[in-house]
Symmetry: C2
Subunit: 196 residues, 2 copies
DNA sequence: GTCTATAGACCGATAGAC
DNA sequence: GTCTATCGGTCTATAGAC
């Protein structure tokens, strides 16, 4: 769903990036994961792509916009996982699809997910970003249904943090993607009390 | 243990900080959690304390040293929790004490733990920091004994990430410390397959 | 869409007075 | 231990040629 070829402008705030914008976003995400958002300059992004700063400013007119576009690009991937889970036929299947999709996404984008969900600057952006709150709310609903008490909040937060944080922990650096994926999925399901 | 009044220089690399150094570390940790390590300047640290940059440089001669001192200060807290757990009489009690101590520490230092464990710059410091690797190894041993396979690695990484990441998730921002502590402890114990 | 060149602010770091 | 003052360099951002 939502291939990058078609325009598909569903949201006026976040239209599909052009090819040049996608290169900026990819370079930014790579550098953010290595140096953090605050430790990444426009010069570093330009050097990573192989152009000058002015060429980057032609795509996005402030650093703020680049950070927002990079965060939204990753959020869009997560939203696709959530939407696919919501399309399942039963709440049980939906919850299962969400956990599997979260693990797949976290492993596939091992180096970026942790920064996107933990960098304090991006966290500040998300705090005032309605799309992010809605995705989080939909994830919680898929995981714990209509419950909204402390246990529902803490268990959802722990599952998201466990999956997204574990993939960059030094303990798992030596594991290849398939082994990591299998273990993450099994342990995440166990955390939720799901069968094996 | 290890009150800041006594000299107690056990490690030549990380001696106990003076009062002035402790103020720098506290200001740095606060700002790191708000803006990230790369997004925090020495001017910001100096302003937070209410002195000039030169006064900060009198305590630590590079920014690198400040980041290292701040990371080590937090690592020392975690090491104390690990040491207390290791002093328990049985492996079961030790594991229990570790989980409880980790939760207490994460809740007490809600705003700082996530940054310390997830900021990419600090992560790079820890990668070449023997004390950090030893503490992680001791935590894994307390949690899963002599097992060193993928499951032992992934489950340890997930528990650490879950506890340290959940305390700053927007879902739990409205919970007071005691409620958060109780839920974190209960769910962490359930993740490890421990009784109630 | 990319370049060179530049503006003005801020960066980490140092010198030396008190 | 803190200050003022300063260094050279890098930062974000802009102007204008090709």
């Amino acid at each position: 769903m939502s291939r990058s070829g078609a325009p598909a402008a569903r949201d006026p705030a976040s239209v599909a990036p052009t090819a040049a914008q996608a290169r900026v976003i990819a370079a930014a995400l790579e550098l953010f994961s290595r140096y953090g958002v605050g430790g990444t300059s426009l010069q570093m992004i330009a050097d990573e792509i192989g152009v000058t700063k002015a060429a980057v400013y032609h795509q996005y007119s402030t650093k703020h916009e680049i950070v927002l576009a990079a965060a939204e690009a990753e959020l869009t991937r997560l939203e696709a996982v959530v939407a696919a889970a919501e399309a399942e036929r039963s709440p049980g299947r939906a919850r299962d699809a969400l956990v599997t999709g979260m693990v797949d996404l976290a492993v596939a984008r091992r180096r970026t997910v942790r920064t996107i969900l933990n960098d304090p600057i991006i966290g500040g952006f998300f705090a005032e970003h309605e799309q992010f709150r809605q995705v989080m709310h939909r994830m919680r609903h898929l995981l714990v249904g209509d419950e909204r008490g402390p246990e529902a909040r803490v268990s959802t937060a722990m599952l998201i943090a466990a999956i997204s944080g574990a993939v960059m922990h030094p303990f798992v650096a030596s594991l290849d993607d398939e082994v990591l994926r299998a273990q993450l999925l099994r342990l995440a399901r166990r955390f939720l009390g799901l069968p094996g």
